[in-house]
Symmetry: C2
Subunit: 309 residues, 2 copies
């Protein structure tokens, strides 16, 4: 076809509502340069730290990074995925919303959008997953409290609706049972995942008749909120009540008292998820199984020997 004809067609195509599309045009040479990331809540510092490392990895490959929250609503997650598909995005990294069926992941991949999961897995989905070994993590913090002499240990926060929630609770249960300690149902405070919620649970926690001397918290936010609530009640966290967190956020080390917590490898999760997605985009075969990052216990001032009251 003559160049003049080609140009005339291009011009007409523009007029009737077609624009040049980076991806379609670049199928033979390169990519659209857009990667989507969707998580429960970008503003949660746990995701923030994962996202920072995803971003720095993608930056180096000059990929643009579009973010969205799904707030655990499948509908919002699907809308964002639809947008990515229409934009011709190259791939998506997601922490799947509660209740995401494997079918959803399969559909995204069938539409040509490679998926990598972070933080949570989806039963039956055949895509790479990067997350911390949550059961191992809470067993570390629970065992630490047991070794200090605690026998009445509560678990504060989290939900059974996610793989993370189930695994963290299981790690606590495993450690308690292995040590022959009793697990009382009302020592579990399910739900809290934020500072505010941790703060609000302090009243009920301190009012228990068979007072626990320590709390294994779902994450650092809940732990810091609970410590603030304990301090507000006139007690000293780390002395009167031992508290452990999970994630080792930047602020764990500067909290009052400095928080004993489980480092959860956020940066490692983000870095590896981004690397594997880039590898997939470059046509490499990747390991499509779940890869668990091994957590570590960071002992600080919020845990000590139990104080008899």
């Amino acid at each position: 076809m003559a160049d003049a004809t080609r140009e005339r067609i291009k011009e007409y195509a523009r007029e009737i509502g077609y624009i040049y599309n980076r991806r379609a045009a670049s199928l033979r040479t390169s990519r659209s340069g857009i990667v989507g990331v969707v998580v429960h809540d970008i503003m949660n510092p746990f995701f923030a730290e994962i996202l920072r490392s995803i971003e720095s990895e993608l930056d180096r490959s000059r990929q643009t990074f579009l973010l969205s929250n799904h707030y655990d609503q499948l509908e919002k997650q699907r809308t964002f995925i639809d947008t990515l598909l229409q934009l011709g995005a190259d791939g998506v990294i997601m922490s799947p919303a509660i209740g995401t069926p494997a079918q959803d992941i399969r559909l995204i991949e069938d539409n040509g959008l490679p998926v990598v999961l972070i933080a949570r897995s989806v039963e039956g989905a055949k895509v790479p997953v990067f997350r911390g070994d949550d059961a191992y993590g809470t067993s570390l913090s629970t065992n630490h409290l047991i070794s200090l002499g605690h026998t009445r240990i509560a678990m504060v926060g989290g939900t059974d609706q996610t793989s993370t929630g189930r695994d963290r609770y299981q790690g606590y249960v495993n450690a308690m049972e292995k040590a022959g300690l009793e697990i009382r149902p009302h020592w579990r405070f399910p739900g809290p995942r934020t500072k505010q919620a941790g703060f609000e649970v302090a009243g009920a926690f301190l009012a228990l008749q068979d007072k626990p001397t320590a709390a294994v918290c779902w994450n650092d936010l809940v732990a810091i909120g609970l410590m603030n609530g304990i301090a507000r009640a006139g007690l000293v966290p780390g002395v009167d009540i031992s508290v452990t967190g999970y994630d080792d956020l930047e602020e764990a080390a500067i909290a009052t008292p400095a928080l004993t917590t489980v480092w959860n490898g956020q940066r490692e999760v983000g870095r590896r998820a981004a690397r594997v997605l880039l590898d997939r985009l470059n046509g490499a075969e990747v390991n499509r199984s779940q890869q668990l990052i091994k957590p570590e216990l960071h002992v600080r001032q919020s845990t000590g020997k139990p104080k008899e009251r």
Copy 2:
């Protein structure tokens, strides 16, 4: 033109790399449904609260919300804007990167992408701006400390490179001068904007010979970090040293001690910015000037009478 011809052209257009574009096709009927939001750092809770209210406003109009950080790098900001233009986005809400020239804002608008600014203004840009009245805000916290009897008051954090930074410092200076109090250059600790940085400045702050008895902090993060640093040094924030924050983040009320701070109208800024952008998309004429949200002082336990040392 015959339908058959039109179809043949469409097909050819697709083959050579043109795809149907929602926006171009929908100019006569509707919009692409995509709004971009770019800020310094999404993970900063100050922006998080603005973003939540933008998001809930856009959700109601079924707009999809794409986020990006510019980390005060003009290059990153421009790349995101280019992506939005190529995607056919409807508009953009931005907290402009330090040094954004009015020319950049004009170019975005000339390309058909309406702009609304939040948190920071750009000298010479003719677009709606929503931000708090920062000078008034720090004069509130400084006057509160003066009324408690403090005369040696430091200012911790912030930068002169943004309109916000200049205004907050000016509010502190105005209040000090009006009360006839001395402003010593080394009582200003420019820079810190995070908890970690506030925590790290505590050492230098407490080592001053002519010790200030109070600190007006750039934001709540710096104030909470500074309080943690003061507590780590064995002093009691709110008793030995009074501290004020700025923003009234959710966690200000649950901090130890509860933080006296300036409510900055984040939710109001986000809600109004989103409303005005939607109005513009609907073709309404809007006010293109800067609109200042009036801040309020929220007094809690981190401020008290000065303790002579």
